[in-house]
């Protein structure tokens, strides 16, 4: 790394995507408040410049709630400092990021226990009483 650092690259920052995304979040919050409507913004399809995602993440910040999910690799579900705006990051078994989303909702769907899993769990628990 040191030899690479010696090249003296001083990239001129471009953060053209941050403001439009924040604007979209703002409108999504309105929809959540007015109509109880959930919005998911897929961050994968956007042409981010180097470091731009970090700026976005820092701008949104970390809020009160943070959850970790372990299913097909880990996932981080983090409420930002703006309640109702969730930062969701899916990783695979190699800990590589495979999906990044902003979900504007009261509680992300993936945090809820799923009916199929509940049934399977009920069945497993029931087995203990047989």
């Amino acid at each position: 790394m040191t030899s690479l650092d010696n090249i003296g690259v001083q990239v001129e920052a471009v953060h053209g995507n941050v403001r439009p995304i924040l604007n979209e979040v703002l409108h999504a919050l309105d929809k959540l408040i007015d109509n109880n409507e959930t919005t998911v913004i897929d961050l994968a399809g956007l042409p981010f410049a180097p470091g731009e995602l970090d700026v976005l993440e820092e701008t949104l910040g970390q809020g009160e709630l943070s959850a970790q999910l372990d299913a097909l690799g880990s996932s981080r579900i983090q409420e930002t400092t703006y309640p109702g705006v969730w930062w969701i990051e899916h990783r695979n078994a190699h800990d590589e990021v495979v999906g990044r989303y902003l979900e504007i909702t009261r509680i992300p769907e993936i945090l809820s226990s799923q009916d199929a899993d509940i049934c399977a769990g009920r069945a497993r628990l029931g087995e203990q009483f047989e």
């Binding site: 001129e12 471009v14 410049a49 180097p50 299913a71 097909l72 899916h90 190699h94 990021v97």
Partner: protein, 351 residues
Amino acid sequence: MKNKPTVGEILQAKGVSRRGFLKYCATTASLLALPPAMIPRIAKAIESARRPSVIWLSFQECTGCTESLTRSAAPTVEGLIFDAISLDYHHTLQAASGEQAEAARHAAMEENEGGYLVLVDGSIPMGNPGFSTIAGISNHDMLMETVAGAAAVVSIGTCAAFGGIPGANPNPTGAVAVQDLVKDKPIINVPGCPPIPMVMTAVLTQFLTFGQLPEVDKFGRPLAFFGQTIHDRCYRRPFYEQGKFANTFDDEGAKAGWCLYKLGCKGPTTYNACATAKWNQGTSFPIESGHPCLGCSEPGFWDKGGFYEPLSTGKFGSGAKVAGAAAAGVALGVAAAAAGRSRQAKFTKEG
């Protein structure tokens, strides 16, 4: 096909929870460039989809496409898709070889008649069948035999899609693309040298989940990935608009990460998803690393002038030809003036 398990069953058998499945569906939607609102439909479709049989044919190629794909086929979420397909023939990857391998191909073809997918990487030499053979069978014969019962063909990489490097001028083997030979089957081109692994898996996933091939552009490329140019989606685009350009690879502009247009970037004429999908597990893409786009996913990219020649460079003829044109101009001018003068002289005489 009936005897194959559905994807839902496969995942269940692997002990994947519903949450895991939802996560899988979300990343699949991302992959297919579908809006998140589509996730429930995808979930439903994937649950009931069955493993399709896939036959992979490799002709005049460098195995780069396979490399690219297998990199992505490490146990990732996309990797699951490969668990979900039945790769019945791939002469580079499979353990079997020779007659055994060919027997597997024929078996898959018979068993899945009319329903299997053929993936092709590499171009087909038409100059002499002996230029490239597998198990003594010429590429052309093998292609035509295999696609006869296929549901669709996916040309993986620029060689299969457009002829690629083997087909470049002067094309010594007479290499042609799959679409030049196969006329009666749906063909999807996934060009790139190599193609983005995600795009390859996305096409397969699309076929797997919805049982249909994606919408394509005039070159047969999936619009979801080849609908916009690199330039349109490039994070350095603002520099282009502001007129900030790197003039050499080591000047201040290059270090500041300015636009690489003047260094020959083919981004404006290249349709691909590199700028958003990125490479190496989403690390970066060539422009982000400071190198102009070569335009590898475009037909004939190898023959479109120098990689470092700016796009707007005209192809003027040689100085000699321009001088020739100038000489012709002089000759015509002299002739015109002589004609004019002779008319003047004639008219003067006639008074």
